[in-house]
Symmetry: C2
């Protein structure tokens, strides 16, 4: 092991990580109502026009728009009531002729002859006659056949991360269930001689493992199945046994915690002995001592131990690999534009990620050591300063990657 | 039933809905790593200082800062190596005296006598001597004891919606498991004679139920357990049987789908016969014909049938009740500030919610009938036009409630 790291640019590291998504994609079928947050593994096509017929969007009277021209409160149009539309039936027998109208409920099928609907509020029944007190124009209050989607139209492409609204569209298109990417199983091994689990009272010199639960919580929310393998101390044989099991059981393995040079070196040595170390050191701050490797054709990451560093690397480097495994076309990064509240210095030659709070369009940097949890908790997201910059100036527009 | 609705302001409707959260809060314990997205049902206190000792944040040499004053590449400070700190141990026996240094790994306990750490990169070992080539100031590269959290400090208050980062803090504070609000069970009954489920090919005049799956998907993502009761047609006895069962099995019941006056009237009549209708009509657009009721002391909502209307009412009226049930102090609304791309007219006297796309800080309204799904899917969120406004002008700043 060399004494210092040979760093590579973030872009290169991301490309190397993405290329590790080599296994055939796992696919499963889920009901539409459970599809939100999942990534489509198929194109979705409308199997018919939606809606399949001209529909009223109000309760009222189906009319010929021309018959209502000039109608008003004082001189209403008088139309002959020619029947009632019932919900869920295609009343083919009803026809609206000149001077006629038909009662129609919201969602009802517009009868032949009619081309608009007068709202109930602007009408009055008087026996067989309906008084219309406001004119309607052609198509008014009508949802046209296929106005939403057209039969055969590709509604969603494979690779889309589905929203709750999308679940409604799936149902409308006849997809009661849909093929989505299976959830990648991500093993998390915490390393570091100083670590104890949350339920243990730390002895002097010890700290509780915060990264394991934090990474697991993020991964769960991102559509993965996190699997915690607990804490491994610096006994090499125990470490090797756990990493072997994790590689066997998971799609991706994340080693987290060891931030000292000795820990990193052991992590790299173990990965090298079982597989291959592809990257050891990235020009990113925080997060420089990141390791990317491969064992049995599965990606293995060594994340830095500082919580903020681990979190930044998770989002900047690991996430693109997860997207690739999921077949997700567009990253699920939520971003907002904001104005920077003060100067943020950076070091040329490395990509810098700075935690920020965002309020009322102002991004306020939270400077703080990457070993702290509290700035991570207070922040809303990150701004990225590209490697070629010496910093960003107060007042400039920034894109905030929301957590 | 009156022919037209008596509408009340949104604020009043929200207050009435919130007051329906009368049952004692359900509480469960979840592991820290599964707590993200859940609402805390307890305050969380740091059980000790975090970190519990002065920690190095780099690999290097623990020194007295004063000993490095004036050190440089050409004239390094020469310090006597007095030992090595091992990870996870509180090396009480090591002491850094004047002119001395001790090797310390990242995360190691700063030994007595030392007040700063020189990074490995700026040092060189020569036998028992270490050459320091850059001065450090007091406290440099050290995380002070309790710099993150102080023993006894309330770290999170009850009612907080937890983030993945928070899961890390919970672990650090010794909360391997934490008390959170139980997930409200929300029953969804789709009503409407025209509705068929997603797996059925609609006959002429029929449409597939999109709202049921859409509402379920949103509720699942919001931390509820949605339970779909299928589609009820206009047979009153069947409707009554389903609503009775749903009220028995759920914490909240949502009736969705019937948007015609007849459907609404039946929904209101059934709620009234089993309990009480509290609201029938809200000054909101879209979503005016909303019903809020109570059966057996449980909230029952009648949402309008148009998908966009149902979704707006879900977020504007139902969500605050869910927050109250969850004990959530701050709404989980993600909002961004944007500039409106064009004039948006509105009608005085009702609160209007307009779907918008947001890109590069510009909010573009998506005008479209509330019966359409596609504008709902294309939109990123909603802007709210208060009841007293006749619209918003192009170029004005708006707050977008992201879906």
């Amino acid at each position: 092991m060399s004494r210092f790291l040979t760093v590579i640019p973030v872009k290169e590291a991301v490309a190397i990580a993405e290329k590790l998504a080599v296994r055939p994609q796992k696919i499963e079928r889920v009901p539409a109502e459970q599809s939100a947050g999942r990534v489509l593994a198929q194109d979705v096509t409308a199997d018919r026009d939606i809606p399949g017929f001209n529909r009223s969007v109000v309760d009222g009277y189906a009319v010929r728009a021309g018959d209502t021209a000039g109608a008003g409160e004082s001189i209403p149009a008088l139309l002959r009531s020619a029947g009632r539309i019932a919900m869920g039936n295609d009343k083919k027998d009803l026809h609206v002729g000149t001077g006629e109208c038909v009662y129609i409920p919201t969602g009802g099928v517009l009868p032949d002859g009619a081309d608009a609907v007068v709202m109930l509020e602007y009408s009055e029944e008087a026996g067989d006659t309906v008084l219309v007190k406001r004119p309607v124009s052609h198509g008014e209050n009508v949802l046209q056949r296929n106005e939403d989607f057209t039969s055969g139209e590709v509604v969603f492409r494979r690779g889309r991360r589905l929203s709750p609204q999308d679940a409604g569209v799936l149902a409308a298109c006849g997809c009661a269930a849909v093929a989505v990417a299976g959830k990648p199983i991500v093993g998390i091994i915490s390393t570091g001689n100083e670590l104890v689990p949350a339920n243990v009272v730390p002895e002097p010199g010890q700290v509780r493992d915060a990264n394991g639960p934090m990474l697991a919580a993020w991964l769960g929310g991102y559509g993965c199945v996190p699997r915690l393998y607990g804490i491994v101390k610096d006994e090499r044989s125990a470490f090797e046994a756990v990493i072997e099991r994790a590689v066997l059981e998971c799609d991706v393995v994340i080693l987290s915690g060891g931030s000292s040079k000795d820990d990193r070196d052991m992590t790299a040595a173990v990965i090298a002995s079982k597989g291959e170390v592809l990257v050891h050191g990235i020009a990113i701050a925080p997060g420089k001592p990141t390791i990317i490797g491969r064992i049995d054709n599965k990606p293995v990451f060594g994340l830095p131990g500082h919580p903020a560093s681990a979190y930044v690397v998770l989002i900047a480097i690991v996430r693109p690999l997860l997207d690739a495994l999921l077949g997700q076309e567009v990253p699920l990064l939520r971003t907002v534009n904001a104005t920077l509240s003060e100067n943020v210095p950076s070091q040329r030659g490395r990509e810098e990620y700075v935690r920020v709070m965002v309020k009322d369009g102002i991004a306020t940097p939270l400077f703080g050591k990457s070993g702290l949890l509290n700035t991570l908790v207070k922040s809303d997201g990150l701004i990225r300063i590209p490697a070629g910059y010496e910093g960003l100036e107060k007042g400039c527009g920034v894109e905030v990657i929301l957590w």
